[in-house]
């Protein structure tokens, strides 16, 4: 009864969404305030219904109702409770339910907190948003229904993919989806603006908090994903240019460009077509990501569904959304007039460069991801585009970007003096050069790109701090006055400072882990010792044991440096008999200078030897620390007071009076 009630709620939500997609839109077109006002109650009804449906599916998973196909396929009576709950969205149908739930949640957030939006704009935004929702409800109900039943019920479930039975799973997809779906908001604003035919500074300010929110969530999602890959896949790697990772990276690139481009619209009333285009691009990339992951085009851990019917449906949805919005863009875009003018060397110019590089980067990743699929589809050979391609194309593209990123905040609007800016930044040049020299002295030579990366990180940190110092007139005024200025900085500029610093720290982490990773694979018997990255690892031994739904081999390593004990690492290898899959649980100890990372493999030989893999990953934790700082910057920025301007006063009048003037 619960499962069926959830099913009904989902069907009802479809009909509410249809109403929301049609009535407020017509209302906005005809100037009918009552019809426009339908947007808010519809959006709220939608989120309540989907939340109810989601709760019902969760209930079915928690009580192991094996008459629900989704539960049979992805759960098992023995599974720990956390994964029974996380398993709700750890599969194709459930994750789509999460998708529409988040979509509806964003819609209701606009309905509740969008009081400062002009009613026509809000009605159109929510109408467009709901149109997307209709597509996804239909997709779920017709091809991927989470509430499908089976009779007689199965005796037990088929368990969740063991790789996904991990705390990381509980949080990675929801954040990723919050990001993906969050860009639907920017998209809806862009489409609504195209329909209205006006994109102005006010619009840019209204759309910005939603874009910031989506971007922050997506950053968390990607960081969690790479962290999960780092400790669960057991190869010490954190980014593989896997198509599924690229699928989340492309909207991030487009979204980052969008964030910056919207600043120009807000401040200078120009670069409007760019901004609209980036909003469409960011959401299209999110949809493409969903398509790539969900259609089973790619075979990977993430491809829960390998069903052509679904693939065709998503592809169709994708074509309608992307194609339709681009057609509208082509029709209405040229009519958007810009009032602001600027010289190439200016803040606007810098942000334009950012747009260009980010969209080129997005195109490169798109090419590298789709090219093999395309070639395969037209009957060509199977090729694999791997890290070498991305490393040699994407990274060099980013190098000048990060250089410019240091300059950007020093350029003034309209026209700027780059020589002047360079002079103010001479300290940053010096620090960067010193950093590279210090690294060579300390770590010996490393790969060229990694050295460049560390140099860029040092450059970016220094230039960001110099910018902050100039802003508060450090050393040019008494310290107290500077401190006062520091406290009075608007939150948005704090956001920028933190996000740029976070980026710099993350770059340092990537360069360090990419350039100086030490790796050692060997067979160890108890008592054996191996030195990796200056640390001595003694293999104490391994024991076998039993987990709730898996068996384990647990290996213990004692790590010491110069005879001093550092830490004891316990690495596990788990074997899930039902799915017949082993997983590794790497033992990781994070230090400031890098991560100690040990993995236990299969027994080797008769005398208690085990295959072990030991890594030293320098600076790798910086990457996630930097990402979190970026997210923090985004959150601070959202809280800036300028996004909370109230609505204009409205006059209270009986509608009948106005209807008969």
């Amino acid at each position: 009864m619960i499962a069926e009630a959830g099913h009904f709620a989902l069907v009802l939500a479809l009909f509410v969404a249809i109403v929301q997609a049609v009535v407020p839109m017509i209302g906005a077109h005809r100037g009918n305030a009552v019809w426009m006002a339908m947007d808010k109650p519809s959006a709220i009804s939608q989120v309540l219904l989907v939340a109810f449906a989601f709760g019902c599916l969760t209930y079915s998973h928690v009580v192991s109702d094996f008459s629900v196909v989704n539960v049979v396929q992805n759960s098992h009576s023995l599974k720990p409770m956390l994964y029974k709950v996380a398993g709700v969205w750890g599969n194709h149908e459930g994750s789509l339910l999460l998708w529409v739930f988040i979509l509806a949640a964003f819609g209701s957030a606009v309905a509740l907190f969008g009081g400062n939006l002009p009613p026509t704009l809000r009605a159109r935004v929510l109408g467009v948003q709901s149109l997307i929702a209709v597509g996804f409800y239909l997709f779920m109900l017709l091809t991927s229904n989470p509430f499908e039943r089976v009779f007689p019920p199965a005796l037990d479930g088929r368990d969740l993919n063991p790789l996904l039975q991990d705390p990381g799973l509980a949080f990675h997809p929801p954040f990723l989806y919050l990001g993906y779906v969050g860009f639907s908001m920017a998209f809806s604003f862009a489409i609504a603006a195209l329909i209205e035919g006006r994109v102005d500074a006010a619009w840019a300010r209204w759309v910005r908090p939603w874009t910031l929110a989506a971007w922050s969530f997506l950053t968390v999602g990607i960081a969690l994903g790479s962290w999960w890959a780092y400790y669960e896949l057991g190869w010490g790697g954190w980014w593989f240019w896997d198509p599924v990772e690229n699928a989340s990276f492309m909207p991030w690139l487009a979204g980052t460009a969008l964030l910056h481009s919207a600043i120009v619209v807000e401040k200078r009333d120009t670069m409007k077509t760019w901004t609209i285009f980036l909003a469409i691009l960011a959401f299209s990339m999110s949809l493409l990501g969903t398509f790539l992951v969900r259609s089973g085009v790619l075979t990977s851990v993430h491809a829960f569904a390998t069903d052509p019917e679904r693939g065709v449906f998503i592809l169709l949805l994708l074509m309608i959304v992307i194609g339709g919005s681009l057609v509208l863009f082509a029709m209405r875009g040229p009519a958007l007039r810009s009032t602001g003018v600027f010289k190439p060397i200016s803040r606007e110019g810098g942000l334009l460069l950012n747009n260009l590089v980010m969209s080129t980067g997005c195109a490169v990743v798109l090419l590298g991801t789709l090219y093999p699929l395309f070639l395969d589809a037209v009957g060509g050979t199977k090729v694999s585009v791997g890290p070498p391609f991305f490393n040699s194309v994407f990274i060099p593209l980013m190098v000048p970007m990060f250089m410019a990123m240091g300059f950007g905040p020093f350029l003034s609007w309209k026209r700027a003096d780059i020589v002047q800016a360079a002079l103010r930044l001479k300290i940053a040049f010096i620090v960067a050069a010193l950093a590279v020299a210090a690294v060579i002295a300390l770590a010996g030579e490393g790969p060229f790109l990694a050295l460049v990366g560390l140099g860029l990180a040092a450059w970016l940190v220094t230039s960001t701090l110099v910018e902050l110092a100039e802003r508060v007139k450090l050393f040019r005024e008494p310290l107290v006055a500077s401190l006062g200025r520091l406290m009075r900085q608007p939150r948005a500029s704090w956001g920028m400072t933190m996000a740029h610093l976070g980026m710099a720290i993350a770059i340092a982490g990537m360069a360090g882990a990419g350039g100086w990773k030490v790796e050692s694979i060997q067979v160890m018997k108890p008592g054996d010792q191996v030195n990796v990255g200056g640390y001595d690892y003694t293999f104490v031994g391994a024991r076998q044991g039993q987990g709730p739904n898996y068996t384990i081999i647990e290996g213990t390593f004692r790590v010491s440096k110069n005879g001093q004990d550092v830490v004891t690492l316990k690495a596990e290898k788990r074997n899930y008999p039902v799915r017949q899959m082993p997983t590794t649980e790497a033992a990781i100890h994070s230090l400031f200078s890098g991560d100690l990372y040990a993995v236990i493999g299969d027994p080797d030989g008769q005398d208690g030897g085990f295959v072990t893999r030991i890594y030293f990953n320098p600076l790798v934790a910086w990457m996630w620390a930097g990402s979190m700082l970026m997210v923090f910057g985004g959150v601070i920025s959202i809280s800036d007071r300028r996004y909370r301007i109230g609505a204009p006063a409205r006059r209270n009048r009986k509608p009948a009076v106005a209807a008969n003037p």
Binding site: L12, F15, A202, R471, A659
Partner: protein, 386 residues
């Protein structure tokens, strides 16, 4: 209509009603305040931008003439916004609100119910695991329930005695007969480990894995079947499942070859022949391959010949015919006798449940009678005794 179905429709009605109340509110109220003109919203933002310029000037982020230029720009935007007065919203709707209310009140719930009836199963109750066990307990399936409980006890015992090969094998078999395939696969995994990967267990382990995965043959199961086949190249189960593996890999011809070989090797009265032939027919139908075009492989023919010779070779001692005759003569009497003996033993065991040997004897007796369930239960009870 069951209680659960009634409850479902009550919930559905409540949901639909709630949604209608929320959604129709603005239409019914009809008293929506007139919206402020569009430009007021824009101008609010621009006013704030002007304040921002002041703040930036105060912070010294803008020079005086930069600030002035920015101000001019924003004021120009304000003028432009005020000029575009075309977007004043009419406060209300026309008289079509009543129609809208009617349409929504009818269309949304009716549409939802119709689509739901098409997709859902309203008369099917939930089947939470806990509730199902309860029902099984009171139902007629008491026997199975008992076995299941004994098996769980045995499983708990084995957690502390993980090297008991007989225990694991028994547990795995019991779970398999109960249809608890994943549990069975886990138990077989242990048995297989304790037995140091005996080829005899490999086939059963593989079968349990396959059943647990809804007949999908994993790489692990496949290697188990291959191992079993390498140890005994006439093993019917291994051949059958390896054929299935080939079919799942889209090598239907290979699969049919495997099965036809198996049919060649099987004695004419083998119990699996009918299933096997059905499988071959089905594969032939689905793929359009005529089974007549596939001849048994040379290896299978050679093996079959070898088997034939073994059977035809005169066996030492009583011939098979002799045994059959003797058995046929005494069949009825013998069963009668065993049955009464077993009943006596079973009632004795009720009074003396700690007698391990007794349970083992009872198990053997039940097996002879073909009462597998009772035999398994006796075996489980025996295994639980020290």
């Amino acid at each position: 209509m069951s209680v659960e179905t009634l409850q479902l429709w009550a919930i559905a009605a409540a949901l639909a009603l709630g949604v209608l109340v929320i959604m129709l509110w603005p239409l019914v109220k009809r008293q929506v305040r007139e919206n402020a003109p569009r430009e007021d919203y824009d101008i609010n933002v621009y006013k704030d931008q002007l304040l921002e310029i002041d703040a930036d000037l105060e912070r010294g982020l803008l020079s005086a003439d930069q600030g002035e230029a920015a101000r001019t720009e924003i004021k120009r935007r304000m003028l432009a916004a005020a000029d575009s007065g075309e977007t004043v919203t009419k406060a209300v709707g026309s008289g079509s609100n009543g129609l809208m209310i009617a349409v929504l009140t009818v269309l949304m719930p009716v549409g939802a119910v119709l689509l739901y009836l098409n997709l859902g199963s309203p008369d099917r109750p939930d089947q939470p695991l806990a509730g199902r066990d309860l029902r099984a307990k009171v139902g007629q399936n008491e026997e199975q329930m008992k076995i299941s409980q004994s098996a769980d006890k045995l499983s708990a015992y084995l957690k502390n005695n993980p090297d008991d090969l007989r225990g694991w094998t028994l547990l795995a078999r019991t779970y398999l007969s109960l249809g608890r395939y994943p549990d069975s696969a886990m138990a077989y995994a242990e048995a297989y480990r304790v037995s140091e990967e005996s080829a005899e267990l490999a086939v059963d382990y593989g079968e349990a894995l396959t059943l647990a995965a809804d007949s999908e043959i994993s790489g692990k199961a496949r290697s188990l079947f291959e191992k079993a086949l390498a140890a005994d190249n006439t093993d019917p189960k291994a051949r059958y499942y390896l054929g299935m593996y080939k079919a799942q890999q889209d090598d239907v011809r290979g699969a049919m070859q495997m099965w036809i070989d198996l049919a060649t090797l099987s004695p004419p009265d083998a119990p699996w022949l009918s299933v096997l032939n059905q499988q071959i027919d089905r594969a032939a139908r689905d793929s359009g391959i005529d089974p007549a075009t596939i001849t048994p492989s040379a290896e299978a023919l050679a093996l079959a010949k070898e088997l034939q010779q073994n059977i035809q070779a005169p066996a030492p001692g009583p011939t098979t015919a002799d045994v059959k005759e003797a058995m046929g003569m005494a069949e009825g009497d013998r069963n009668q006798m065993i049955r009464s003996m077993v009943e006596r033993l079973a009632s004795k065991m009720k009074d003396d449940p700690k007698n391990k040997d007794g349970w083992l004897r009872l198990e053997r007796a039940y097996r002879v009678l073909g009462e597998v369930d009772k035999a398994d239960e006796a075996a489980v009870r025996a295994a639980l005794l020290p």
